[in-house]
């Protein structure tokens, strides 16, 4: 097996020290940083697939994600050097009045695994904070989370504010227990993910289509 194959396996198994070592080994062997990055993302995709197939739990995925993060710390200087940057920036947060962060954190983790630049605004985020962050970071994607039915109106307000701002060119995606596809359509969101795992494909599809 090649170093990159081994690296992929180390990520999948969440063995962060081994993954870091193999990253360095690949760098030292002159493998291009983009190629190494691709291997990391592919490994995280595989973890995501297993997760979606109920073969692994979040804790295992979290460990893989931490291993990737450790590898990225090694890789980042080289990526910067070559001018390789994440494909795009995604802003994420739980809407105003809602404090639930687990679903939001899970999506953020999976987006990072797919190498999106993720700006996490936390919970109970007002519409204008979403707008400001989307402008500031030139976000291509904004993800809104809500777990309370009572905060669905806040979700609607936030989508409207984002769509009304001419300086923002972002797909707005929503998710959370009370959210349905029909609700997403009603409030003018661009996409809806029924669970965290599908949020990656959703965003990839939307950004490619854009």
């Amino acid at each position: 097996m090649s170093t990159l194959e081994n690296l992929g396996q180390a990520i999948e198994q969440g063995d962060r020290n081994e993954a870091e070592r193999l990253t360095q080994e690949a760098i030292d062997a002159g493998v291009g940083p983009q190629e190494i990055l691709d291997a990391l993302v592919a490994a995280m995709d595989e973890v995501g697939r297993r997760f979606q197939a109920n073969e692994v739990f979040v804790p295992e995925m979290l460990i893989a994600s931490r291993a990737m993060k450790q590898c990225m710390a090694r890789l980042e200087p080289l990526l910067v050097e070559k001018g390789i940057r994440p494909a795009f920036t995604a802003v994420i947060g739980t809407v105003e009045g809602d404090l639930h962060d687990i679903g939001k954190n899970l999506v953020a983790m999976m987006w990072r695994g797919a190498n999106f630049n993720v700006v996490d605004l936390g919970t109970n985020v007002a519409a204008d904070k979403f707008v400001a962050a989307a402008r500031e970071h030139g976000a291509r994607v904004v993800g809104l989370s809500a777990l309370l039915t009572t905060t669905m109106p806040a979700m609607k307000r936030t989508v409207e504010a984002l769509k009304a701002d001419g300086a923002i060119d972002a797909r707005v995606v929503i998710g959370g227990a009370p959210v349905t596809e029909a609700f997403a359509r009603d409030i003018g969101a661009d996409g809806f993910a029924p669970d965290a795992a599908s949020a990656v494909q959703l965003v990839r599809g939307l950004v490619e289509a854009a």
Partner: protein
């Protein structure tokens, strides 16, 4: 640790409708005195709550309670517990929560006066302190709003004080996602218990001043979050089962501070509290499917003293408004429990056993709630020297019970979960003996930017 021995020390004596220390309410209901009462829950449909919508919000609650009481009068339950679980804006603007409490209390008063329907009102303000991070737990406008909501709602007719408090949740959420049992014990038994002691001492003062009862708390944001994550296959069911056992240590603190029950509906740890305290407890299971799925649909009824539907929005179903439909289901469930009890404790215990057997073999979370498991976990808790050790002991006992149940063929565990038994056991065997050493260790591991230790008295 106030409770040093079990009020119910035999699994045989853990039974729905029956608590050694029953609670008598103003209108003469005796909760835990041989009757299971329906505990009716409801919430708004999807509408914003603000100054402009408050007239509509008031109308909603008035309609909900009027419609439900009309049906309750027809169905004649022996009594009715009504829970008003506020929505966060109603705790932040306490006068809204108090106003609606008054609407509900007045409706209950009229149903009692006109139709002789006994009832009591549980009021459950929100723990809004988490609206700022890191949270101020013991002062600031959020805490002030909570205090006012409790005090005002108690004055407006609320008889039972409850809350789903969240001290420690800022650490626990991450612990759940990471499957990190020591961090969960830190969140529940170090942070959570300290916050509960502060909070429930304050509530005890309010209850005394207003002549009402502290009922109890629930580790909803902890144990039920774990259960929901397990249902979504995000975390192992075994892990959620062990978390459930540990949550009892935290929820117990309400009763150490004077709460007399019934413990709150969504506290699936309630049977453990009942074994320890002898106080009546609420339960919710299949008839709370409107609020969430669970692997505990029947077993949750086995030891409850009130039986709740947790929460349902005021939307229309074919048969009428959803809250009233659910009230009807609760009343019939309770009729069955109470008819069995009419035939004596051994008949009732048969029904209890069928409720237990219904679920206990299929899911570790249910297995932890069999009377046998409940007493074992409760015993481990009261034998521990402090809350930290009680949490570790509860976890260790739960792991042992699950392992034994699996080996005896009484409990099915999914293959991919099995390694978690050893994994969890190793993680707690490595923990230090003293709480101070544990705190020092955990402060080096958890994300300390998320909370302010001083707010927890650390």
């Amino acid at each position: 640790m106030r409770f040093r021995q079990l009020a119910i020390d035999s699994p045989d004596n853990l039974l729905f409708g029956t608590a050694p220390r029953p609670l008598t309410t103003r209108r003469g209901m005796v909760i835990g005195g041989g009757t299971v009462y329906p505990e009716f829950n409801f919430t708004l449909p999807d509408i914003a709550i603000d100054e402009g919508s408050m007239p509509a919000v008031r109308r909603q609650y008035q309609q909900i309670i009027d419609d439900a009481l009309r049906r309750a009068v027809e169905l004649e339950p022996p009594g009715l517990v009504v829970e008003f679980e506020m929505l966060p804006p109603m705790t932040q603007q306490p006068r809204w929560g108090i106003e609606i409490t008054a609407i509900l209390a007045e409706a209950l008063e009229q149903a009692h006066a006109r139709h002789g329907l006994p009832s009591t009102l549980r009021i459950t303000p929100n723990d809004t302190r988490e609206f700022e991070r890191p949270a101020r737990m013991r002062h600031g406008p959020y805490w002030e709003g909570m205090r006012q909501a409790f005090d005002g709602a108690a004055a407006a007719g609320g008889e039972l004080l409850s809350i789903e408090s969240v001290g420690g949740k800022e650490i626990h959420d991450d612990a759940l996602m990471a499957g990190d049992l020591p961090a969960a014990i830190f969140a529940l038994c170090v942070l959570g218990t300290r916050d509960m002691r502060f909070l429930w001492s304050e509530l005890a003062d309010i209850a005394q001043a207003r002549g009402v009862h502290c009922a109890g708390d629930t580790a909803c944001g902890f144990g039920n979050t774990a259960m929901v994550l397990a249902e979504q296959k995000l975390v192992p069911r075994l892990f959620a089962a062990v978390i459930r056992a540990v949550t009892a240590v935290r929820s117990l603190v309400a009763h150490e501070c004077g709460a007399v029950g019934p413990g709150k509906d969504c506290g699936y740890e309630n049977p453990i509290l009942k074994a320890i305290t002898g106080m009546p407890m609420a339960g919710e299971g299949k008839t709370a499917a409107c609020a969430h799925a669970s692997p505990l649909g029947n077993i949750a009824a086995a030891m409850c003293d009130t039986w709740s539907n947790e929460s349902v929005q005021n939307v229309k179903l074919l048969g009428g408004m959803a809250p009233t439909c659910y009230l009807e289901q609760l009343v019939y469930d309770c009729r069955l429990f109470n008819r069995a009890m009419d035939h004596g404790p051994s008949a009732a215990t048969m029904l209890r056993n069928w409720l237990v057997e219904s679920d206990s073999g299929l899911d570790p979370q249910a297995y932890i709630l069999t009377p046998h498991s409940v007493v074992a976990v409760a015993r481990a808790i009261v034998a521990a020297p402090d809350h930290y050790r009680a949490g570790v002991a509860a976890a260790a006992t739960a792991i042992d019970l699950l392992r034994e149940g699996h080996e005896a063929g009484c409990l099915r565990i999914h293959q991919r979960e099995l390694p978690w038994l050893d994994r969890m056991q190793r993680s707690i065997e490595a923990l230090p003996e003293s709480e101070s050493a544990f705190i020092e260790q955990m402060m080096g591991e958890v994300d300390t930017t998320r909370f302010n230790p001083a707010e927890y008295g650390l």
